[in-house]
Symmetry: C2
Subunit: 79 residues, 2 copies
DNA sequence: GGAAAATGTCAAGCGTCCTTTCCATTTTAA
DNA sequence: TTAAAATGGAAAGGACGCTTGACATTTTCC
């Protein structure tokens, strides 16, 4: 039946969020609290269910002390 | 009466889009075409009417050969 | 000065981002 | 192995990102 909400085949954006979070040794809940978003948002990003807004991407990057490009990988297959 | 659609006082994101576009010597229309978005979208970004999605931010950065951080400046006053 | 080009901005519509609530499944640890 | 903690994910709703279409204003330049 294929649900796959939001993100489709040519979806161009990967991220290293789960890896970075585990390196920090924190839970989704703790990361969510640190970023002032919901736990579901973190889970959805980690599992590629949707892309973050640019503001959330900046918050995440700042939290981990990295650039957006070091965390989110843009692939332009689409078009 | 204050319309100010979308972006409010604590709006945290500035960008150098107009400056970079003018340095390239291209119009909003041409930039829009190059990025495959509408001219209104470019104008709205240049005038701070709203923030780009992270995908559009990546497209813009790639087009100008810069990082997202070199084009968009995040200020965390909010919260 | 007058025409064409460029820009500003509104409105309606649609899809995405993120929320809260809720429940199921997996992992952890005693 | 069992309870608690952590994670996965659905559903509905609100706000934002981007579209097309339209029109007004400003800029360019002959």
């Amino acid at each position: 039946m294929e649900r796959k909400l939001y993100i489709e085949e040519g979806s161009d954006l990967e991220n290293r969020l789960e890896q970075l979070r585990r390196e920090r040794g924190i839970t989704q809940d703790e990361l969510a609290a640190a970023l002032a978003v919901s736990r579901q948002t973190i889970g959805s990003l980690e599992n590629g269910r949707y892309n973050p807004s640019i503001l959330l991407a900046f918050k995440i990057a700042r939290y981990f002390g990295k650039t957006i490009e070091e965390i989110f990988v843009y692939e332009e297959d689409a078009e």
